[in-house]
């Protein structure tokens, strides 16, 4: 049992230094709806870490869900931790304060499991910083038999290879059932004692969706290419099939969302109305790896919202998914919720709404209590040709009609998200972003001279398990040139607000997104050289990453700038997202050769991406099935 004094709360040492760091509220815990349990009465203890600042990590749905699922077990403790900001890290190192949890302020080593949620690559350097501050060996091979088990999960974990040496276990896919099964093994490990790491891994690897990097080895050709990642133990699967929770109504989490005491990036009670997406946007990793679509019923969502609003006091309800207006019962759901909260200060939001799925009825339901704050759409590309390539099938007519609906219904400000650096992109496609923005603004002007449009532009990073996984990525210099084209085109109009990200972090994201195990040395070296908070402009330093890559002999351009060969082995091939490689390839070819579109398979015939039969599942929606007759 972890009862040594070294595992007691660090709060007495933390409290005196808190006024010397920025935003001390990040570190105090004490939020509404947290679960504080007696460690001595538990037989497994989890520390769930989101490796970014508190205000970014706290609203994360994945952490919230697993926190509740684990804590519902009476003898399991789950607490949370977040990456300390750089000023806090310096103080912690000076005062020898280890990485701690927020619930009981216990050090990382007081926990049996340290599980990181990886939404994106920008958290990798922080992940190492958290482990290092926690006094846990960075490399799994250096951990003692009774050291905590380090787990990663989340979307970015679908290519865990750049982190492979640092983690004991990877969760492929949905975590709800997975963590409970891991928890059983952890309890047995702690109860029996005396297991060596090998034995622990052998038990963990039996869990479906479990990937133990230590049991696999990457092989490279003489030319430096990857031959593949192969199991090195008998009984270990060649490919690890992802976990998929089939019935979301049976997992109605979050039930009691944590209510932060300080401002975070999303202040609302959020509920996923469905998981998965079938729109088939070729750049979108989330849409590909979360298939098939699994809807929550109107009744479950209503129940969750009623309880969630009552026990949090949040003033906003977010109906989350990858394309919320696509829920088969969206109008009924929004109508019922609008009825329930009419005349109150509770507002509804649909954070991801398709341009072509937005309509007046939905608009009315969302604004019955009078709030018409900004409305955001993501056409993603500026020309019809480019949108065909990425399979984001939104026509200009759709966009303008939607703008008309929105401005006519009282919205004053539309935000439009775009990407540049897409495969086959020309300068004409880039300028098309400005043209579309200006046309939308012209529609807005007809409804009010001061109506505004914000065009937000990000650089495209090719992601694993998508049709674009073969694509070459633009250099930051090229992205900067394309941004220049846009800036010159829209400079004249003050009501069109152009926002863009620094293109430099996309180099690091590209390296980590499609990197192999050799890239892990870059991550560790970058951490040692001081890389932290790579998602923050004020912290990110591409120079550190370039230097780290040089020092360990990794050629970043080989990973980012190179279009992949058709039959090239990928570092993530052994993680089975359910998508057939042949289908991804043919969809990539369809994109670059003909720019041909693919229908949404929720309501049109199946095109055999491979997910449903592999998982013995079908889309679970209220839409009527359409039979292909084949």
């Amino acid at each position: 049992m972890n009862t040594s004094p070294a595992y007691e709360s660090v709060w007495p040492r933390l409290e005196p230094i808190l006024t010397s760091v920025r935003k001390p509220a990040r570190y105090v815990g004490g939020e509404g709806n947290i679960v504080v349990k007696d460690h001595a009465a538990a037989d497994s203890r989890w520390l769930l870490v989101y490796p970014d600042a508190y205000e970014v990590g706290q609203p994360n749905q994945g952490v919230q869900i697993l926190y509740e699922v684990l804590n519902e077990r009476p003898t399991t403790v789950a607490e949370r931790g977040y990456a300390p900001w750089t000023d806090m890290e310096a103080v912690m190192r000076a005062e020898a304060i280890p990485f701690f949890s927020l619930e009981t302020h216990r050090p990382m080593r007081a926990f049996d499991v340290v599980a990181f949620s990886l939404a994106a690559e920008v958290g990798y350097s922080n992940l190492l910083a958290c482990l290092d501050l926690g006094g846990v060996a960075l490399r799994a091979a250096d951990r003692a038999d009774d050291d905590p088990v380090v787990i990663v999960g989340g979307h970015a974990a679908f290519n865990p290879e750049p982190l492979a040496p640092f983690v004991d276990l990877v969760c492929a896919g949905d975590g709800e059932e997975f963590v409970l099964e891991v928890d059983q093994v952890v309890k047995a490990w702690r109860r029996d004692g005396g297991w060596n790491r090998e034995r622990l891994y052998a038990e963990l690897v039996k869990i479906p969706g479990a990937y133990v990097p230590a049991f696999y080895e990457a092989e490279y050709s003489a030319a430096g290419g990857l031959r593949g990642t192969f199991p090195r133990r008998s009984g270990v699967p060649y490919r690890i099939p992802k976990r998929t929770v089939s019935d979301l109504d049976a997992w109605p989490y979050p039930k009691r969302s944590i209510v932060p005491l300080t401002e975070t990036v999303h202040e609302r009670y959020s509920v996923e109305i469905f998981r998965g997406c079938t729109r088939g946007c070729r750049f979108c990793q989330a849409g590909m790896i979360t298939r098939p679509v699994r809807e929550r019923s109107r009744e479950t969502v209503k129940q969750m919202v009623a309880n969630g609003v009552a026990n949090t006091g949040f003033e906003e309800v977010g109906l989350l998914s990858l394309s919320s207006a696509d829920h088969s019962d969206i109008l009924g759901l929004c109508g019922d919720l609008a009825d329930a909260y009419e005349g109150t200060s509770t507002s509804l939001s649909l954070p991801s709404t398709r341009v072509d799925a937005f309509n007046v009825t939905l608009a009315d339901e969302l604004t019955r209590n009078g709030r018409r704050t900004g409305l955001t759409f993501a056409p993603e590309a500026g020309t019809e040709r480019m949108r065909r390539v990425i399979n984001k099938m939104v026509s200009e007519a759709d966009m303008l009609r939607t703008a008309e609906t929105a401005f006519a219904n009282g919205w004053r400000h539309l935000k439009l998200y775009f990407m540049i650096g897409l495969p086959t992109e020309t300068d004409e496609d880039v300028l098309g972003i400005a043209e579309l923005g200006l046309k939308v603004l012209a529609v807005g002007r007809q409804h009010g001279r001061r109506n505004k449009v914000t065009v937000s532009v990000g650089g495209f990073v090719p992601k694993p398990h998508t049709p674009f996984q073969w694509a070459a990525q633009d250099t930051p210099e090229e992205l900067q040139r394309k941004l220049g084209l846009l800036k010159r085109r829209v400079a004249s109009d003050r009501n069109l607000n152009l926002r863009y990200h620094d293109p430099r972090p996309s180099v690091m994201e590209g390296l980590l997104a499609r990197g192999d195990r050799r890239v892990a040395d870059v991550v560790q070296r970058a951490f040692e050289l001081g890389a932290r908070f790579d998602g923050w402009d004020e912290c990110f330093d591409l120079g550190i990453w370039r230097r780290a890559a040089d020092e360990v002999g990794v050629d970043i351009a080989w990973y980012t700038r190179r279009q992949r060969d058709p039959d090239e082995a990928f570092p993530w091939d052994h993680l089975d997202s359910g998508l057939e490689r042949e289908w991804l390839w043919s969809d990539w070819q369809a994109a670059v050769e003909a720019g041909s579109e693919l229908e949404d398979c929720r309501w049109t015939p199946c095109y055999d991406c491979g997910v449903c039969p592999g998982l013995d599942l079908q889309h679970q929606t209220g839409h009527l099935p359409i039979f292909s007759g084949g």
């Binding site: 004490g30 005491l261 300080t262 026990n311 006091g313």
Partner: protein
Amino acid sequence: MAASDTSSQAPADQAPRGRGDTVASRIRVRYSKTGKLRFISAIDLGRIWERSLRRAQLPIAYSEGFSPHPKVSFTDALPLGYASTGEYAELTFAGPIPLQPAITALNAAFPEGIAVRRAVAVADGDPKLATWLLASCWDVAYPTGADLTAAVAATGQAESLPVARERKGEPVTVDLRPAIHQISVHGARVRVTLHHLQVPVRPTEVDLALRSTDPALPPPALVVRVAQGRPVAEGLVEALSGELVEPLHPIDMRLPT
């Protein structure tokens, strides 16, 4: 609690402010902000109030306009890191509500570290809350073992108490003396009552003045605003209860007023 340790009933002519109504639609409250909540900023505190009111299902009134705000107004913000048993707020409800059940529900909904200690009804035409809050009584606790007796004595005898301050980026020297109503000490604890001036004097500046007589002084471990109200010769009359908050004993250094 520090305030009740040393409080006693004030003379009859210093009766509690506010009305004794048990049902009201406008109320003033004294609340505490302690423990982990002392690291929460004033802006964040407003949101905590709003959400706690919603969780308690109290019918708080909302302002009109494009983005309605709950009608909760706060008096001067407590600096980050200080604890307090003497913060004040005024709340307007959509209609009259029974006071005591409302406060019970609200206290159950607050996160740990914030609690309403007293509530009084107000009516239209009553003086503004700020007019009741003329001074703050602060306890500055130094680490156990420190003895502030000599420093407080020296400070109490000083003609003036110049401390350095920054004003619009320029270093200036201000005299704390006019702001100090009373200062007293008991071992490691200093109690100082500060008048609310146009430019407020903070307990950190009193610490600076004490430090000038004893440079080896360790930094204060905790600063607590005990109460706010009206300064009188015997101490401070707390605004909502009329209770007297007295200086510390046994050593009681009073500056002439």
